[in-house]
Symmetry: D2
Amino acid sequence: MQELKIQIKKFIQARDWKQYHAPKNLAMALSVEAAEIVEIFQWKKEDEALSPGEQEHLRQEIGDVLVYLIELADKFKIDVIKAAKDKLVLNQEKYPADLVRGKADKYTEYK
Amino acid sequence: MQELKIQIKKFIQARDWKQYHAPKNLAMALSVEAAEIVEIFQWKKEDEALSPGEQEHLRQEIGDVLVYLIELADKFKIDVIKAAKDKLVLNQEKYPADLVRGKADKYTEYK
Amino acid sequence: MQELKIQIKKFIQARDWKQYHAPKNLAMALSVEAAEIVEIFQWKKEDEALSPGEQEHLRQEIGDVLVYLIELADKFKIDVIKAAKDKLVLNQEKYPADLVRGKADKYTEYK
Amino acid sequence: MQELKIQIKKFIQARDWKQYHAPKNLAMALSVEAAEIVEIFQWKKEDEALSPGEQEHLRQEIGDVLVYLIELADKFKIDVIKAAKDKLVLNQEKYPADLVRGKADKYTEYK
C-alpha cells in the first residue's frame, strides 16, 4: 500500500496533473470509474459469468477506483485501510448480527 | 489489508448476507457509495474546505467504497493493490509523461 | 414540459441558488440522484417487486433526475426531448435491428 | 413526449431487448449514462466552457439519460414530467424560499 501511494504520487508529478486533481474532481473521477464497473454488469443476469476479457476489464477498473480513492483520501490525510476498518466497526453496531441476519431490507435502510 | 479482508468476510458471514452480495450487486453498491462521496462535493467551490463533520463523513464513505471494492475484487480473486499497480503501469504507457505534461485534454481522452 | 421548465426556473430564482448550479455541479447532482435510484434496486433480485413505499421513493428520485437533467440541458440550450429523439436515430444506425436482435453483447459494446 | 415514448418502445421491440431491460438493469444503465456526463466535466474548472465537440457529446448523453429514465419510469407507469412537478412541490415545502435563500448548506442537507 505504501509503495502504491508513492507510485501514484510519482505518476501525478511526472505529468504535472496535480493542478487538475482537486478533491472535488477526484470524487467525480472516482464515481466515473465506479460506473465503468457497473457498465460491465448492467445487462448480465445475477449469476452470469464474466468472460476472461471482461474479467481483465474489471481488474483494470478496480485498479482505477483504488488509485483515485487513495489520491482523494491522501488529500485529507485519510488512511483508506484504517477508514474501512473503522467503518466496519460502526456497521457492526448499526447492524447487530442477530437482528439483521439474512435480511436485505435492513441493508437497504443502511445509509 | 489481509486483516481487513478477514474482517469483511466475518462481517458478511455473521449476517448471512452472502446471498445478496452477487458481483453485480456489489458493483451497484460500490457506485452508490462513490456517489455519496460526490454528494459531499457537489455544491462546493473547487478550493472550498470541508468542515470537520464533512471530513468525517468523507472518511466513512471512503471506508465503504474500499469495503465493497475488496469484496467485489475477492469474488474474482483480484488483488486490489496489484490491480492498481498494474493499471498505473498501463497508464504510464498510455500517457507518456513528456507528451501529456500539464494537459487535461489528454486526460479526458483517457478511457 | 414547457410548464415544468418555468417551474424549475422559479424554484431556483426564489432560492437564489443559481450561483451553485454551474453545469459541472448539476452534472454531479444528476449522477447522485441516479445513484439514489440504483440504491433502491441494489439488493433486489432481477424480478423482485418494489413495495408501494419503494415505488413512491423511485417516483421522487425520477423526478429529481429529470429536474437536474432539464436544468443542465437548459444551460446549453439543449432540448432534452429533441436530444433523446436524435440519439435514438443515431442508435438505430449504430445497432441495426437485424444484426443485434436479442443480443446483449452488442449492447455492452454500445457507448 | 408521447411521440418519444413510442419511438423508444419501437426501438426496443425491433431489437428484442426487452429481456435485458429489467428495471434494475435500466437503473444501472441510467447511472452509467449519468456518469458519462460527469466525465465531460471532471477536469474542468467551474466556469470553463465546453468545446463544440464536447457540447455535442453532452447533448447525446443527455439524450441517453432521458431514454433510460423514460423506459424505467414506464415500467412503473410513472409519468416523468408529473413526477418532476410533484417533486418540485415537495421541495418547495422542504426548502422554504425565505429560509434557504442563497445557502448551499441547506441544499446539502437535502436528501
